[in-house]
Symmetry: C2
Subunit: 200 residues, 2 copies
């Protein structure tokens, strides 16, 4: 139940000053690129998408000063939903972002059963749900609709414990980084909406 | 910047066993009623609405055991968005829930400028945004569309620092608690959607 998500929580965004369009092998920068993109979309009134706070179970709180609480014992909890959600053009947007150092496939162990159930529920409510998959070694980022991930997770496509890169190349959408927004993933959502793949 | 939101974080939902339809003067039960309602809507595949985790700034983490992180210093941060969001019938749902012990008006100090800005941005993206207002003393709960709160906050309706109950009675919707879901607020959203007040 208690896990330390990714060890990256102490790095403030102000430390990531260089908005490079290349974030290979730099770990945090994938998440940074997504957060920067969401900040760009928000500032331009294009979309309202936020990363949810990491769920933390607070056990002990002290009050060294008046009206200021200091948490002295707490633990990370596993998220039961995806990390990102928001609204774009009237559509509910919901996604998870994960990266791997593998080159030929994306391991399913990056996702939890709870998240898969959440994605199914979102699709049933006609939300737009997907994952952003980052192959760090080759510096390639893809948007893959959740329906594919769900099928793989349930073993409907294959018994493999990972999604082959070839499958992601065929059914996903590669995102080319640019200056602003760094990861223009909403351009792909536009394609899905206009193609009638998003229902309301 | 650092605040302790409401001191209620340690009460697990399992401690709230009696799903009473009356939650007057019992503080936590208003939030409990909302969470129970969202759990009901989720389990019946009616909607996917979650309370966002409380944002916490982690300062120090220790590793007393392998693969288990213990947070030993952290602080509550002020939320920049609303507490609840999700998807219902393809619509993005976003709301904040607040209660007061006052009888004749709802104090605006319950809301922060950041939250008001967030509500405006959500409305611009055609999300459905509202507040659930609970008058604890008289045990009455209302749904008020965010547009009203925003107008009051900006001083467009009056210079008052609170929204009069009479205004909320006229422009809001009272929610009658029931057994399941305890607070059937989505019935009011149905009215808004069918009345054409929600745009896509």
């Amino acid at each position: 139940m208690i896990q330390y998500p990714n060890g990256k929580k102490l790095i403030s965004s102000s430390l990531r000053t260089k908005a490079s369009t290349n974030f290979a092998n730099r770990g945090m920068d994938f998440e940074g690129a997504i957060n920067d993109s969401n900040a760009y979309y928000l500032s331009r009134k294009i979309a309202v998408i936020h990363k949810k706070p990491t769920p933390i179970q607070v056990v002990k709180v002290e009050y060294p000063k008046r009206s200021m609480a200091k948490i002295t014992e707490a633990y990370y909890r596993q998220a039961s939903t995806t990390d990102y959600s928001g609204v774009y053009r009237g559509f509910y947007i919901d996604f998870e972002a994960k990266e791997t150092k593998q080159k030929k496939s994306f391991p399913l162990k990056n996702f939890h059963q709870h998240q898969i159930e959440h994605m199914k529920a979102v699709l049933e409510q006609k939300g737009i749900c997907f994952v952003l998959l980052y192959f760090a070694t080759d510096n390639r980022c893809f948007l893959l609709e959740a329906v594919h991930l769900i099928s793989f997770f349930n073993g409907q496509i294959s018994e493999r414990k990972s999604i082959p890169l070839s499958y992601i190349e065929e059914f996903g959408f590669q995102i080319q980084p640019q200056l602003k927004p760094r990861l223009p993933f909403l351009a792909i959502i536009d394609q899905l909406i206009e193609g009638g793949k998003a229902y309301r």
